[in-house]
Amino acid sequence: GDQVEQSPSALSLHEGTGSALRCNFTTTMRAVQWFQQNSRGSLINLFYLASGTKENGRLKSTFNSKESYSTLHIRDAQLEDSGTYFCAAERTGGNNKLTFGQGTVLSVIP
């Protein structure tokens, strides 16, 4: 089936630093979404991209359909950024179904 490979599986960042999360796809995807699951378990939609790059505050995401990957960049990390980040992608020609990656557990350290 469709595969969404997410890396790294876990990441620790000191406050004020930044890093990137990545998702690789094994088939051509139409669109990608990124979610944050916070400490209460709520899933918050961060980005929806059909192509290109979007930015929102300290977060920036890129989706390259041709090269089958997406990235989520976090800069100036804050304690409230801790949580699990999921990417989810929809296959081109697929029937409105998202496939989720396994998630990246982000810990922001004071």
């Binding site: 979404q33 709520s42 918050i44 939609n45 697929g94 029937n95 409105n96 179904k97 998202l98 989720f100």
Partner: protein
């Protein structure tokens, strides 16, 4: 902001019992989804719907039924609950013009089957 509300938020059921998880969305989205989340498996799609009266099987539909009686409501039904169905269940709706659209999730329903 999309509003997706799930009930109950917590449920303890006995093996063989019937469980209904309800989901309501107030944003007139056509697509609705039920996922379960388990450690080591991420989120997996159980059933989804394109609109009132429509239900489709997702990737792990066995042991579950779904019902979409209206645009706003989408239920997940476990006719004979088993301990393997202990999980956290999430409902989502999507503002699809094409494809899934951006998904908005409910707060989750934690189900324990004893």
């Amino acid at each position: 902001e999309a509003a997706v509300t799930q009930s109950p938020r917590n449920k303890v059921a006995v093996t063989g019992g019937k469980v209904t998880l309800s989901c309501n969305q107030t944003n007139n989205h056509n697509n609705m989804y039920w996922y379960r989340q388990d450690t080591g498996h991420g989120l997996r799609l159980i059933h989804y719907s394109y609109g009132a009266g429509s239900t489709e099987k997702g990737d792990i539909p066995d042991g579950y039924k779904a019902s979409r009686p209206s645009q706003e409501n989408f239920s997940l039904i476990l006719e004979l609950a088993t301990p393997s169905q202990t999980s956290v269940y999430f409902c989502a709706s999507g503002d699809a013009g094409m494809g899934t659209g951006q998904l908005y999730f409910g707060e989750g329903s934690k189900l324990t089957v004893l």
